[in-house]
């Protein structure tokens, strides 16, 4: 039996604000003492009133604009009730029927389009860790409310993802957008971004996708879906889906019925583990949040937020490949972070003063990916541009440039000083190089005769001889120039 993979993704992102969603407690709780960023509001004490954070809502709108969503004119909050120690009020303030953003889409580098159902604003819950008391064997949880009330947005896709790779690419793109727009650092290890895929497999040709829903064809009964939690990295998004698809396929092959369930990803073992079944539909008893008024968003508000939009990675990739004709791979690597892209564009504008745009882009890309990234250090834009120009003028080789760079970075030397010294000494050695070339010509009469007889490929051999006798220190371009001059 052949199956199609049906995946929908829920991504939670903690947005980057100074204070919490509904109170003024400071956010930066990472590695802080437990229960020190807490007040009556985020502790859910009776009578405490939630007051929404304007910046948090702006960041939610910004995410919606970056993913082509429609932005609602009115913001309404709802209470989602469930009873668990990490939720001190007994309900989470979230949004039910009217999310701030809806009906968006993003295009993956593979051109696959992912439809976004909604992006809504809510608040994070407390952090709980689970233990067992040694003396009594009783299970217990330790709760830290510092995380309670941190602004959280939830991005929900339609069940339109058809492979583990697309799910991974989508999560990657959301993380890039978050970082480019400074919406969040989106560090999954720190829990700033959490991905929860909903996965099912359906028999090929027995289902259809209509209005954002998966529907059975004829009397086919859809297989239940499985939700996977506890995914701590982008790689685990892909791996957990691949694992689940394999597991579900085997279960069905063994004649077992899939029950709707939540499973947890175990990164050490590379497997998902059963957590609980969801035989009954969740009953959250949503109701409108009476303590928060309706917030009106005007056209001017949206215009103001949209000024924060910058050129996003997929737009950069398109422009780099089209206008500069650099490879898709290079464009993807360069635009993977805003810092890399800004650096690339900085070098480009330096080089454009003396090179044409495409050559400049190609050189900038090559040097970035080949030299700068392998050094793993920050290289000043002007310094690198200077080295690239000297290289293009044939004054230094790439090898020499890299040596110079390493030397300058490691020993705090100035690149333009070192370049000047190098040029001085290479003028001196140019005379020596001519002597060496003459020696090579004398020692290789056959190759010289071949070259003069029109076999120009022999030049490569002769240059190679020069390089060998100088132990690689000569500039091959220079050696070639001298050879050509002497063999005219």
């Amino acid at each position: 039996m052949e199956y199609d993979i049906i995946v929908g993704l829920e991504i939670h992102v903690q947005t980057k604000t100074e204070s919490k969603m509904f109170c003024s407690c400071p956010t930066g709780y990472f590695q802080k003492e437990p229960n020190t960023h807490v007040c009556p509001v985020c502790l859910g004490l009776p009578g405490a009133l939630p007051v929404p954070n304007r910046r948090a809502i702006e960041l939610c709108i910004l995410m919606g604009l970056a993913t082509n969503c429609k932005i609602n004119k009115n913001i309404l909050f709802d209470r989602k009730h469930y009873f668990y120690p990490d939720l001190p009020k007994g309900y989470q303030i979230s949004q039910y029927k009217d999310p701030i953003c809806s009906n968006g889409k993003v295009t993956l580098p593979s051109e696959v389009e992912i439809e976004i159902e909604r992006i809504h604003q809510e608040e994070d819950v407390a952090k709980s860790t689970h233990h067992k008391e040694a003396s009594t064997n009783k299970e217990y949880s330790l709760i830290d409310y510092n995380k309670s009330g941190i602004p959280l947005i939830e991005i929900v896709t339609k069940p339109c993802i058809r492979s583990a790779k697309d799910a991974k690419d989508f999560a990657t793109q959301i993380r890039q957008i978050c970082r480019y727009l400074n919406i969040s650092d989106a560090d999954m290890e720190k829990g700033q971004m959490r991905c929860e895929p909903n996965i099912s497999i359906q028999e090929k040709g027995k289902w259809k996708y209509e209005d954002g829903k998966i529907l059975p064809i004829g009397d086919y009964k859809l297989n239940n879906k499985v939700e996977v939690k506890n995914i701590g990295s982008i790689t685990a998004v892909e791996k957990s889906i691949e694992y689940e698809v394999k597991r579900l396929t085997e279960e069905i092959a063994n004649g077992k019925e899939i029950i709707q369930q939540t499973r947890g990803w175990n990164a050490d073992k590379g497997i998902t583990e059963f957590q609980r079944s969801k035989e009954t539909a969740d009953d959250y008893r949503y109701m409108p949040e009476p303590d928060i008024p309706v917030i009106e968003i005007s056209k001017e508000d949206i215009e103001r937020v949209s000024k924060e939009l910058v050129e996003l990675p997929h737009e950069k990739i398109a422009r780099y490949t089209k206008d500069y004709e650099i490879s898709t791979y290079a464009a993807e690597v360069i635009s993977s972070t805003k810092e890399n892209a800004t650096y690339f564009e900085g070098i480009l504008s330096e080089l454009k003063t003396s090179l044409d745009e495409k050559t400049a882009a190609k050189e900038a890309a090559n040097w970035l990916m080949g030299t700068v990234y392998s050094l793993g250090k920050d290289v000043d834009i002007k310094d690198l541009a200077l080295l690239i120009k000297k290289f293009k003028d044939g004054i230094i080789t790439k090898g020499v440039a890299e040596e110079l760079l390493k030397d300058c970075l490691g020993n705090g030397k100035d690149i333009s000083d070192e370049l000047e010294k190098f040029e001085g000494s290479s003028k001196e050695s140019a005379g020596k190089l001519e002597d060496i070339v003459k020696e090579i010509i004398k020692n290789n009469p056959k190759a010289v005769a071949d070259y003069k007889g029109g076999k120009t490929s022999t030049m490569g051999f002769l240059v190679g001889q020069v390089m060998q006798s100088t132990k690689g220190s000569a500039n091959p371009n220079e050696a070639k120039n001298i050879l050509e001059e002497l063999l005219k």
Partner: protein, 97 residues
């Protein structure tokens, strides 16, 4: 007016005996009955009475100091190393202790 008190109790993780269920069910049904007279009010063409505020009136994103850890934990029944301690199973019932 019917109400499934056991379901509501389960959602709130409260365990009720059959006697308690028998006692509370008619009581809660009476409450619902009383409140349901509101359903008879004709609200045709009446906009929901909810206050609207412009975007600019929301709170500025400026943090202010929180309570001290001591104050936060003052009302907790059990604490451990600055955490609130709650007895119960991870996905099972968290029981009042």
């Amino acid at each position: 007016m019917k109400i499934d008190v056991k379901h509501i109790a389960d959602l709130s993780r409260i365990t009720l005996t059959q006697e308690e269920l028998d006692k509370f069910t008619p009581q809660m049904e009476t409450i619902l009955q009383s409140a349901s007279v509101l359903k008879n009010v004709d609200t045709e063409g009446v906009a929901p009475m909810k206050k609207h505020i412009p975007f600019s009136e929301m709170r500025d994103d400026t943090p202010i100091p929180s309570l001290s850890q001591e104050e936060v934990l003052k009302n907790a029944k059990h604490t451990e190393k600055g955490f609130v301690k709650v007895y119960g199973k991870i996905f099972g019932d968290i029981e009042e202790s």
